[in-house]
Symmetry: C2
Subunit: 195 residues, 2 copies
DNA sequence: CGAGCGCTTGATTGAGTTCAAAAATCGTGG
DNA sequence: CCACGATTTTTGAACTCAATCAAGCGCTCG
């Protein structure tokens, strides 16, 4: 079994007690791929047919607004899954782009994989509901920050939540995630050093 | 059966084919209450033990930030459910306040109601997953607007999505929902008339 | 009928953007 | 391994959108 798939299997087994042969059966829905920095995995307008598990490397999802500006929605380092849940679930065109920030080993997981796994394994359904709630909590927190916190507060929140990503992600992408310009983030950081 | 509970039963039956006696059994988890304008149903810091179904009237959920400013998260008119999903699911203290914008008829739905209903009725589980995805889609859209749209664009989006609420909600609350001040919203509106 | 609340309007301020350019860092081919 | 071009980060100055502060108007409801 390929390394990336193996890592993914371990990830799944944390939440769903599926045996070797059961996993074997579902493996037809999995594809391991190496992607290079900058490579697109999902383009806005497409329906999101699969999720992406990062075995090694780093992905990002982002939107592009009317003025052509990127807004990063999520980073996805090792051990994370990324996809456009809404697009997958409702079978609608996605608004998201997903691409690689680093050369990465990715498992492409067809949507059917999760459907089948849910049927076979009720623990996984619970896990799925759990992760939907986590997702809501995370986005809701982001809304709160965008509504009520300054650029500096949002940056401090980011380094509190994702300290390990700080050195891997270029600053202009962090700025994009925070909803500010790279120049503003640079000034925020300068101000923080001063203190 | 009280009017409000009856309306709620119809609401549930749209998604879960539950019979009269089944509903009867679960009705111990329901309480119908009349609340007056301004009355608090949930306070930040409390664990959210129930959801609130609006049979008649209008609720709102909101947070209060460090500077003491309110930020409205959601409006809940007739036929809507509101709660702090994260708080209910993870059994954590809520960040939300929920109160009544109008005198309202509300059904208090104990969290156990949904647990039981899910067990008895698999259609309802599907409905629940569906509504979690809708929720994610809605919040995600809000993040996109906060990241990439001007005050005017956000207001236009609001009146497109909730035209029927416009006359029922005071302007300063709409401003709070949009993440701007009442003064700014007043100016945005003036500008839109001019066009 | 008056007190309070919500909305508007004006003047001023301020956080963050934009534009421009220099400085630092990265990465890649010779 | 170094050099050079590209990308990223920093810095500066002007600007802009929305916030703040302040005042006045109009409604309603007690």
């Amino acid at each position: 079994m390929e390394e990336a798939i193996f890592i993914f299997k371990n990830y799944i087994q944390q939440s769903a007690p599926i045996d070797e042969s059961g996993f074997e059966q579902l493996s037809k829905y999995l594809k391991s791929k190496k992607v290079v920095k900058g490579q697109l995995l999902l383009r806005a307008g497409e329906v999101c047919k699969s999720s992406f598990f990062t075995a090694k490397g780093l992905l990002r999802s982002y939107t592009i607004d009317k003025q052509g500006k990127e807004h990063i929605i999520q980073f996805s380092p090792e051990g994370w899954l990324v996809a456009d849940r809404s697009s997958s679930f409702f079978n609608e065109p996605s608004f998201l782009y997903i691409d690689a920030i680093e050369d990465s080993d990715i498992v492409y997981i067809d949507n059917l994989f999760f459907d089948e796994l849910s049927k076979q394994c009720s623990d996984f359904s619970l896990f799925n509901i759990n992760s939907l709630h986590h997702h809501i909590k995370q986005i809701q927190n982001r809304v709160n920050l965008l509504l009520g916190a300054s650029a500096e507060e949002r940056y401090l929140d980011f380094i509190r939540l994702y300290p390990e990503l700080l050195m891997r992600i270029p600053q202009w992408m962090i700025a994009s995630y925070l909803g500010i310009t790279p120049e503003s983030l640079s000034r925020v950081r300068k101000e923080l050093y001063r203190k």
